[in-house]
Assembly symmetry: C2
Homo-oligomer: 425 residues x 2
Amino acid sequence: MNTLIQNVTALLPDGTTDVVNIAITNDEIFSVGDVPDDFIAQKVIDGTKHFAVPGFVNAHTHASMTLLRSYADDMKLMDWLQQMIWPIEAKLCSDDIYWGAMLAAAEMIRSGTTTFADMYGPDMERVAEVVEISGLRGVLSRGLIGLAPDAEKKIDENVYLYENFHGTADGRITVMFGPHALYTCPPDYLKKVAEKAQALGAEVHIHMSETIGEVEDCMKKYGKRPFAHVASTGLFENGTLAAHCVHLDDEDIDIIKKYHIRVVHNPGSNMKLASGTAPVPRLLAEGVCVALGTDGASSNNNLDMLDEIQLTALLHKVNTLDPLAVPALTAIKMGTEYGAQALSLPHIGKLQKGDKADIVLFSMHGVEWTPCYHPASLLAYAAKSSSIDTVMVNGSLLMENGALTTLDEERILYEAQRVADRLTK
Amino acid sequence: MNTLIQNVTALLPDGTTDVVNIAITNDEIFSVGDVPDDFIAQKVIDGTKHFAVPGFVNAHTHASMTLLRSYADDMKLMDWLQQMIWPIEAKLCSDDIYWGAMLAAAEMIRSGTTTFADMYGPDMERVAEVVEISGLRGVLSRGLIGLAPDAEKKIDENVYLYENFHGTADGRITVMFGPHALYTCPPDYLKKVAEKAQALGAEVHIHMSETIGEVEDCMKKYGKRPFAHVASTGLFENGTLAAHCVHLDDEDIDIIKKYHIRVVHNPGSNMKLASGTAPVPRLLAEGVCVALGTDGASSNNNLDMLDEIQLTALLHKVNTLDPLAVPALTAIKMGTEYGAQALSLPHIGKLQKGDKADIVLFSMHGVEWTPCYHPASLLAYAAKSSSIDTVMVNGSLLMENGALTTLDEERILYEAQRVADRLTK
């Protein structure tokens, strides 16, 4: 099927904006600019007064944790985890994982996210089901806790996930291995995960150096900083997505560069949990791929990638006292193009011929888009995700004129609240 | 006229939430809780699945600067001012001030702001006109630049504004004096402003200690830090609203407490301009009244007070590495109750009997409000101002079911863009 987005202001790969037509053939962008005379579209979308950007890439989240949104805020991290989050998580059943991920999917589509990297479990096949149904793109990993009684079983589940879902849903699902963190996975366990992943050719998604306590404990326990310690287990050999990376020194950054580790910055979560401020301007200057993520909704507390883009553009300016730190376009690229690179999805993240048609349209007819001098700057500093009215993945519409097309939103809101009521009864 | 908001989840003055009925008689809240049997309402609003909060108070802004939203971002402060902002501001005519303030009014109502403190000019009577028409509450001051060729005339304009508009529009307009800052107003000029304000019984709205450069220059030029210097001119004698207050030491805080100066924290602007992080947790702990403001839209770049509440709740946690810093309820109070105190408007800022009926309703039927354990926590960490559908000031509706009732939004969007096109031609 051919689709044509007419007369739309588009953010182009070189960072400029222009009014163009975007022609789409099946799941791919066929042209951006003029449309060939013989291009016949079965579906025409009027892009007038709309801003087209590549779909946002949420490179680190725990989708089903939307069920715990604002269940417990303003607490110390370990009190929060031990007294509130873990007891509830122990009660989650397969259907809960499903409805939590469904709520996340609805929220992500509404706020312009077209791809998400998820680490959670059990029952990650239910999240795969949500990806299949919703039309989103998902990079799924089973969260692996080496200290858990069923640690081995978790690895088996990740293998099962890889073998049964990697490359499915028209290629919208890919699978990574999800060792949670060095403080929940002993070295032997990390080695085992590394071997399994390597045998399958799978990459790894892990939390790294999120808190200063994690770094100090690692030094105490293993005599090395987190990156050196994990590198010694072989886990970084096959491609790594490292979430957080807040507390880094020169040696850590050298290891990140040596293994081409892609970093996921989570400013909302790092601010809310008081984890610290990651050295993003330095990482970018050193050529590291830095993507953005929301983390789970219970430490954010939403899955809105535009919030993360905006926080990134603001936080590093005040943190470095440099008003030029992480300018608008860089923050947007972190949420789109760099996110795609981070997830090893080279065919998304830009509005260009040959890329998959993952496209988001913001209506610019509204107060926060007025007046309009520089759409990209408005996007980074003024806009709201609520002005998104059209979302497309692989050339298929997931939201049109503000309505979700693949999901039953009313049912999702109802079921998510029902699950929440049961969990906290 | 009597209005009844039925069956609404309300944020009560003690910080709890409860499902209540809110009865309104003319411009005042008559009761919160049960409704007297003999209360007959001419207007009934169904508050089911809505969260009622006091209208947000934007305690520091420059409304007409919405015209310069994202005109020039990612620049150094002085380059930005000298090359981009000031040349455009020099072209502003009376109608531009009007349409800029109209755009601001539409944006503020949509995002739940019911009261704003504005410092700008010339032609502040046009902003008063916008307050009159829009139904908002405005605390207006003429921005006074003592270094300008027409410095004396500016004071006369502020006097005119006070004498002709203070207490007008059913009491919705009050007027302060607006000496811009110590670096644009020499000491003799500040003395003159202080005398004029004192003679009229007016309070003062000023920028204080926004950048480290301002503090250093003040020390160099006057041998004193900003607060001691300005105190010596007598400007703090009659009640002061001090915006920014980023760079404070013990002596500054002592002066703030001595003169009961109300501080306006502007996290979005301070982050974007890389000004620094104000010591908000300490100020609050010492009993200082700290309100929130957006600053102008060209340094923010919107006028969304919920963004400022959320930034406040996040920024101070990461800045102090304390996850308990500025909890949800405190941030909300800063944007409502403390804002009212800061603007010397004791009859707004809380949902309680006898207060003016300035009320905002958020629809909680949506993804980011689901599931709902703690509405106030969702407001501070997850919600979007786009879920506001009803806004009331003095018991009159300014927005109903998502539509503005007092303003012609289409005309405003058109005129604001037209002005912007002319200014930058």
